[in-house]
Amino acid sequence: MARRAQSSVSPVVLLIGLAFLAAAAIGGFFMLGKGSKPDYPPLNVEDFRKNSLSQRGNMYYLEGTVDRRDRVTAQGQIITLLPGADGKEAPIPVFLPAGLKGDNIESGYRLRVVVEINKDGLPEARSIVK
């Protein structure tokens, strides 16, 4: 009887390779889909609610869902932002100066901004992260 010839690639190696490829694909998807994060720490919302003055002059990265636009003036607008990925954290105010082209922001809009805590302890957007 004739002997069957064995396969040249091991199945284990094949599985490991497939897993690696999947991980690379997922990572690439997220890296390419979300864009890159600015090089600023995220704003600690709890600290902010307790005493925002202690964060004055610091720059933070902030991401959340726009709850409402409280006041819009020619100087800019103050919005209510619900931080966090799911928008369930306690609301905080954010001042969007007029130069940031945030006029089209609406309630429910997902916003990523770099903010600086101004002298009033109010987060003032410095840039909107696309």
Partner: protein, 676 residues
């Protein structure tokens, strides 16, 4: 006879209340006992002359039928008189006069009376009776009256001795006058050695001797005796003058003698009258009989001063002035009356008729307090009416004081004590007055209920005048007193509660306080304000409760906000604060967010404050407080006057200029209360 008896009783009534110092007569000013020996007939008067007697000095009029005396402008019943009541009650408690001294005194007086009896023909009776007077005077119960009588008799003796002197002096004057006449006649017969013979002659001498006593002018007219001789002599003139003097002296001496005798009699009569008025009838009889012995004119009219009290008494009763014998008879009649009264008393007491027995003994005592029959009445017999007498006197006192409750009790007690007691008049008097008083009180209550306070007070006053101790007066007066007290207390309480800021307590009794301050405008305004505000608070609290129960999201937050608005307005109201705390617990998440926002804003932490307000708004989206606070912060950060869109105004966009050049600078955020 009836008039006679009335006079006797009236006279005795006077003596009843004036036993020792009554105004016996309206004696002349020189009469008082301490003015000299001429007034020693009333030496037993121990009291000062000016001292008034207990019931005044006016003489009473007595109505024996009703036992009522008019005295000193007042009408009184002998049963009611306090002085008499006290004396009679004391008499009832005293032991009878049965000592050896008492018996000796009574015996002595009896012996004097027997000696002086008209039936006694003993020629020496006067002397024997006078000798016994000092013996009787030694007994204390005599009160030295026999001494006074003895003094009066002594004065009569002295007066009679003066009469002998008078007779001797009159005789001497007559003798001297006779001698002077003879001497005058002799002088008139005198002839001068140089007498003109032509003018002489026996006939002319005789003629001169007759004329001389008549003035001695005969010789001069007839060219008579020369100067210094016969009727023209100084000696003759002196004789005539002396004769005239003796004539005048004689007349004056006669007049003085008559006056002295009258005075002595008058003083003795005064003493008799005084004994009678003092109800010392035995002494009256003794004095009257001594008088008859001394003056022998017992039927002579007493020398009473016209219009004097005593004169009126006897005059009105007898129709004329009394004599010494009249008084003697009156005294005997009084003594007889007293004896009959005591006999009747004994009889009635034996029959158990205490009421009538009491009255008879009272009458006997009133007339003959010092008589042996009264003084020797056994105490055990007197004691039978003593309790009755006490109750009677207490009854009259209670009626005088208008204590009709006590009076009725005493009447009931007396009716039980004495079966013959007639209470009709007393009971009628008590019932009439008590009913009149009650009627006034009923009227007062009616007027009170009608709000006619002044008229009601008048009725209460009338009720009190009729019956001061009416127990129903308190019931009638109480509403007035309480009304006044309640008003004062309510006003005081109102002020205190205002000071304590305890407006709820005022609210709870707003009707009471309303009635108390209805005429007090400032307090009334305060009360109205308190009531209005508390109604507002209570309404809000009620609404908050109702709101809390609703199944509506955010209802408890809405209720909390409603109450908080009132808490700011009325921070002192406890119930409002309690309700606010209840709601604060129920809406704690929302309240904490607002409170933290407030705290952060005050510390200048505008960003955090705004974040907390946004949190509060997230919890209760309709929160007016959160919205208003957010708006105020936004106004500072981004003034609304050029807002393109303002959520706080409902999301409408403003149309202000949008160019950045015209934008005002952002207002600096300062630490302020976002809720202000």
């Amino acid at each position: 006879m009836k008039t006679y008896s009335l006079t006797l009783r009236a006279a005795l009534a006077l003596g009843l209340a004036t036993p020792a110092f009554a105004q016996v007569f309206n004696a002349p000013p020189a009469a008082p006992a301490d003015n000299g020996p001429s007034n020693t007939t009333i030496a037993q008067k121990e009291e000062k002359p000016a001292q008034r007697n207990v019931l005044g000095n006016d003489l009473p009029a007595m109505d024996p039928s009703s036992e009522v005396a008019i005295w000193d402008g007042k009408a009184w019943n002998i049963n009611d008189n306090r002085v008499f009541s006290a004396r009679f009650e004391r008499y009832l408690g005293e032991p009878e006069a049965k000592s050896a001294a008492d018996a000796a005194y009574i015996s002595t007086i009896r012996e004097i009376l027997d000696l002086l009896s008209p039936l006694n023909t003993d020629r020496d009776k006067m002397r024997r009776a006078v000798v016994l007077l000092p013996v009787a005077a030694e007994h204390p119960q005599d009160a030295r009256l026999c001494d006074a009588l003895l003094n009066a008799i002594f004065r009569v003796y002295l007066s009679k001795r003066n009469q002998n002197d008078y007779d001797m002096q009159v005789k001497a004057m007559k003798d001297e006058a006779e001698r002077l006449r003879w001497k005058g006649d002799m002088k008139a017969e005198e002839r001068s050695l140089t007498t003109n013979p032509a003018g002489g002659g026996s006939s002319s001498r005789n003629s001169n001797s007759r004329r001389a006593p008549q003035g001695g002018g005969g010789q001069a007219q007839g060219g008579g005796a020369p100067a210094g001789v016969a009727t023209n002599s100084l000696e003759y003139e002196g004789i005539v003058k002396r004769l005239v003097e003796i004539e005048v002296l004689s007349k004056a001496f006669d007049a003085k003698n008559e006056l002295s005798e009258l005075k002595t009699k008058t003083e003795f009569q005064l003493l008799i009258g005084q004994f009678f008025m003092q109800r010392r009838f035995e002494h009256t009889i003794m004095a009257a009989r001594f008088y008859n012995q001394l003056f022998q004119d017992g039927q002579a009219t007493l020398n009473l001063k016209e219009d004097s009290d005593v004169s009126r008494i006897f005059g009105e009763g007898l129709g004329g002035s009394p004599t010494v014998s009249t008084i003697d008879t009156l005294a005997n009649e009084a003594m007889s009356d007293v004896r009959r009264g005591i006999e009747t008393f004994n009889y009635l007491v034996d029959r158990g008729e205490l009421w009538n027995g009491f009255r008879r003994l009272q009458e006997a005592f009133a007339i003959g307090e010092y008589m042996p029959e009264v003084r020797t009445l056994p105490r055990d017999r007197k004691q039978k009416v003593q309790d009755f007498a006490r109750a009677m006197f207490k009854l009259t006192a209670s009626l005088e004081a208008k204590d009709f409750l006590l009076a009725q009790e005493l009447i009931d007690q007396l009716k039980k004590t004495a079966t013959d007691y007639d209470s009709t008049k007393f009971e009628a008097y008590v019932k009439t007055n008590t009913r009149v008083s009650d009627m006034h009180l009923a009227q007062a209550k009616l007027l009170f209920s009608q709000g006619k306070v002044d008229e009601a007070r008048g009725e209460v006053q009338k009720a009190m005048e009729v019956w001061p101790t009416n127990p129903k007066i308190d019931d009638a007066v109480q509403p007035v007193m309480e009304q006044a007290d309640m008003k004062n207390k309510a006003v005081t309480d109102f002020d205190r509660l205002i000071n304590d800021r305890n407006y709820r307590a005022i609210m709870r009794e707003k009707e009471k306080f309303g009635a108390a301050v209805f005429d007090d405008e400032p307090r009334k305004a305060s009360l109205n304000q308190i009531v209005t505000n508390l109604i507002k608070i209570d309404t809000a609290i009620a609404q908050s409760r109702e709101l809390e129960t609703r199944a509506v999201p955010g209802a408890k937050y809405a209720a909390w906000e409603e109450i908080q608005n009132l808490v700011a307005e009325f921070p002192d109201d406890a119930e409002l604060r309690i309700r606010a705390e209840e709601l604060s617990r129920a809406a704690s998440e929302f309240v904490v967010a607002l409170q933290r926002a407030n705290d952060l804003s005050k510390s200048g932490n505008t960003g955090s404050a705004l974040a907390m307000l946004m949190e509060a708004r997230r919890i209760y989206p309709d929160s007016r407080r959160a919205k208003d606070a957010i708006t105020r912060i936004l106004d500072r950060l981004l003034p609304a006057d050029n807002a393109l869109f303002d959520e706080s105004t409902g999301g409408s966009a403003t149309t202000s200029t949008t160019t950045s050049d015209t934008l005002p600078a952002r207002a600096p955020a300062t630490g302020r209360d976002p809720f202000e």
